[in-house]
Symmetry: C2
Subunit: 214 residues, 2 copies
């Protein structure tokens, strides 16, 4: 996925694209500015006209992710589910959105990999990640969750954060299992497994005691 324009010169876009590619391949520390320059087709000095330091390139990637990618990844499509009433519609809607998100994650994975990795090591990166993406995602999901509780489709006993995290968690590990460990395992039928994942998210993995209502 290419970096779209946004008050950004052609050169700057080229450099960011190259930086994402190289850093995602080797990791931030192992990626050299000389290789980024080569990949971008500019002189090494040019990079430092647009980014004061190498770390500024990382910040640029992160801000870009927040501005351009976070919105479709988090918000887009939720409304589609939000205004369904039937339970089967809900399930189908969730499936659609999850499939869609899998595709988006796939497309922006290089960028995500960089951000996730660096967030594990640097509190300042984590702070930006939280401010630009996570807090916004929580906000959006809280609204959605409230709507679902009012419709009697989601449990009010489970907080929005826990519920949202459960969805995200299952989605992420589904992705990791398929895309990172895919070569090592015998992959099940995608749709069948996704159905099970949704089942686990919606109704859990345990059999409820007889007579239990919730």
């Amino acid at each position: 996925m290419q970096v779209p324009d946004l008050k950004m010169s052609e050169k700057e876009k080229k450099i960011l694209d190259a930086a994402i590619a190289v850093i995602s391949e080797k990791g931030f520390s192992a990626a050299s500015t000389s290789e980024i320059a080569r990949q971008a087709g500019v002189a090494e000095g040019t990079i430092f006209r647009y980014f004061k330091t190498k770390k500024d390139i990382l910040r640029g990637i992160l801000i870009h992710l927040g501005n351009v990618i976070a919105e479709p990844l988090v918000v887009y499509g939720l409304k589609k589910i939000l205004y369904q009433d039937g339970r089967e519609d809900l399930r189908a809607g969730i499936k659609l959105v999850l499939k869609d998100r899998m595709a988006i994650i796939d497309a922006v994975f290089p960028m995500l990999r960089i951000v996730i990795t660096e967030a594990m090591y640097h509190e300042d990166i984590r702070q930006i990640l939280y401010d630009k993406i996570i807090s916004r995602a929580v906000e959006v999901f809280e609204e959605y969750h409230l709507e679902m509780v009012e419709k009697g489709l989601m449990k009010k006993e489970i907080d929005a954060v826990v519920a949202g995290r459960s969805i995200l968690a299952n989605l992420v590990l589904f992705f990791v299992y398929r895309n990172l460990f895919g070569p090592m395992i015998q992959l099940d039928d995608y749709d069948r497994e996704l159905d099970q994942v949704i089942d686990a998210i919606m109704h859990g993995i345990a059999i409820p005691a007889v007579g239990d209502k919730k």
Copy 2:
């Protein structure tokens, strides 16, 4: 958490401990052998008597994780749940085990962070991770899952892999949310949130349709 002995000289242990500390702090590429040596209290040359290359140190950490840490992280305590019959016992057992796992993850987090990060970038590391830890974990959980299905406590419609992944996923994101983003958020009561997480794992976040049995 310190590296325990296992056919390992005092020096080698010291170097591994220092390597884990330094690499976990800065990342593998940014960690220098000179700093690892300083932290270990040995000369830089000594490191290369025990590890042929820097990458061998990483391999050493990974193998150590597989040999010593994976077992308690994955297997230990499952039997405690396995031989409970009551449903409330099951819930309490899961809670105990999850709490215990949170503590273990906390203790080995430096090591985990290194392995997870490098696994994201290198297929060969991923392969070792799969062979030494994941495949073993799947094996253990499959046995547990089968037992639970036979007791009528877990759904047979959801595969062991999906069910186990759901538990792991919720546990991991619970940890990440609390320990990495803890400073940025207002933390709920730990036990209350953990109860909700278990609820989400066991019975899902959606309200089942009236008349539904599973």
